[in-house]
Point group: none
Chain length 219, copies 4
DNA sequence: TATGAATGAGTGTTCATTCAT
DNA sequence: TATGAATGAACACTCATTCAT
């Protein structure tokens, strides 16, 4: 992102290949994709790919690292825009939704392919993903410190649980077979926002969901 | 010899192959597994597998169908044991945990491989999974009808969100690289139980988490 | 044909398998046919076939031997019915046509599969086929001895050439893709009859083609 | 390097593979031949074959098309060399013999394998073969128009019958088990030439067989 | 750097044949 | 004799990767 000095990161072809890979992987899955397809989509020769990536696995890893970098940066930018700790929780979720909506192929790859390969779970350490979770965990932690959020769950566990929900909701909304639910994707994520916030926070008036009168109907 | 001794679902070899497949898939992933490995593990000839399954995909699908059937049945049994609607939510979660703990290989395959293959997400309708979600959704719905749970989220969305969490927590606890967290797996799931219950229910005293004084000790 | 004492030749199942094989081979070719298909068609178990035949090749060989036996016997019967040496040539050809018409599957197998397998041309001596050719050759030889037929070609060569024509005409008429020519199959064979007879014999008035006046109409 | 150097019909490897295939198919038959054998014979890698041919069937089809093209062209060249219509018939036969003699492997493949595969008889239209027959038929037709040949058989039927004879004679002479007859192959074909010519033509003095005194006894 | 023809190891699947019953 | 489940050798084809240009 910054230097683009290291060998060929940031080069035109490097980016084109990665972009092509996102598309091809999203369409066919990692194992269903051929390196030659990616080459064709990127409009480079097959062999050229091996000038920029060690092997097919490396394309997926790089794709993931590069994009997680961007996702995390975006999330951190968004988090700076508000001071409200609870609102920050909402920001995390909406940011994920926003990313998934803008770039379905990318969401698809991260959601589906990431989990798959044994390589990823065993050999590849996946520090970027840890960093992403840490960012969310810090938001939770802040709430806990301010006595706004429950402290009986570790922030890491919550962060992971939230990611699990978002991940699944993305599958649910973005990749539902008939695509029928795509229209209410935003609404579903908003529902999830409140589900999570409520699960986490105390019942301070300020953390109440938008329509307090609804809550008055509670028994 | 008798009825379902040959070429049947209940056949000895059918079961052995499926059991072997769970193990081999869990270890190597679907694409990393060779049919001959499964045959060897099941102690049958390669060709024998094709007497019981159409192809490699069919092994995975059958494995999934057979086990989901068992999982759903177990869950429904467990749900009958309590009348308390909120407790039923807890039962859903603990049941999942229980299954994952007892059969890590199976949990691994369901959690990791299910999501992967294009076949599964696009061609394979996966009615069993829908049935599983429906069972959870019905529990939520019951809570909503009794005015115990929030009605501003659809039961289906919640069921899916819960599944996402459980799925991710399983990866988190069962397959964490160092396996360091395995000991507190139960504890983590219990934390998730309360997170979910709290996110769903109204703050009635009776629905309060078991030890309210704990909350006073926080921070 | 006579004894049916030898082990199992002539047994019900032996015949059923052979009959089934003719049908299955005709439909799918030798290599395209599965032993299990033949078993099914013959309504016996796969393993039963190996009680009557050494292997798949042996089915084809037996099929050929048995049927050639019948074909040759029929031909010899037919030849006895006439004294006229030239008419005997016609009988050979019409007999072939008759067989092909009555039993297209058999004709198909003899015509197509016989030629194919290296096994047949190299290892399998094919004495029956030699006997069939010999029968025809003897007819030619007789004509030559009576000074009716040209003597500048060996009877064996002529027999083989005639068989080649008949074989090809069978393919032409019986298995022509659209099957369009099936109706004039008889006519085509009659044309061939005269072509052959004329090629062989001296132009005695009695061997002239049926309608000499037709020739006058030629330009 | 230049135009048709790579992945083209005229490419070095394309030709080598086809040449190798002729040899391997001739030796083992289509079904008895392994793609890897062809690759080895052509001195290319197994995979290379699939850069030039769609599959194993395609090798056989291509082999046939390419060579029929050459055979037909050669035949047409030869036919131009004479004006005599009857001599043209002889040219057709001698051309076939010549080809079979020069390239026994090719003759073997065309003669034996062509007939075999269901693919060839049913799916593969085989326009080249039709073109070959048509060329012969046109020669016959010309004779008929000039009132030299009998008109009571269609040129197509005759062409096919001639092909059948030549095909069978090739098997007879080129592939006879002991190979004993190879020496008189030429003689046998010459005998066939006269058999055919005589079967077709009228008794013009110029078309008389070698021994005129015999012919004087005719009619 | 860039190319893309060439490579060849690797594997799902078939099916003739066997053999315990 | 008869069965048909079990066997396992065999093979066409794919595709990630390389390397001469």
């Amino acid at each position: 992102m910054t230097k683009n000095s290291v060998k060929n990161k940031g080069s035109d072809k490097y980016d084109r290949i990665l972009k092509a890979a996102v598309k091809v992987f999203a369409e066919n899955g990692f194992h269903g994709s051929k390196v030659s397809q990616i080459a064709k989509e990127a409009d480079v020769a097959d062999g050229t790919i091996y000038l920029y990536f060690k092997n097919k696995d490396d394309i997926l890893i790089s794709l993931f690292e590069e994009n997680m970098d961007w996702i995390i940066n975006t999330l951190e930018e968004d988090l700076k825009k508000t001071e409200d700790p609870v609102e920050k929780i909402r920001v995390c979720i909406r940011n994920f939704y926003s990313m998934a909506k803008k770039n379905r192929d990318l969401a698809s790859v991260i959601t589906i392919e990431l989990r798959q390969s044994t390589k990823f779970m065993k050999e590849y350490d996946n520090k970027q993903f840890a960093r992403y979770l840490k960012t969310i965990a810090r938001v939770i932690e802040e709430c806990q410190k301010l006595n706004i959020a429950r402290t009986d769950i570790s922030p890491e566990t919550i962060a992971r649980a939230i990611f699990g929900m978002l991940d699944e909701m993305t599958l649910f909304t973005v990749f539902s077979p008939g695509g029928q639910r795509k229209q209410n994707m935003k609404q579903i994520f908003e529902e999830i926002v409140e589900f999570i916030v409520r699960g986490l926070t105390y019942k301070d008036p300020e953390n109440m969901p938008p329509k307090p009168e609804q809550e008055n109907t509670e028994e």
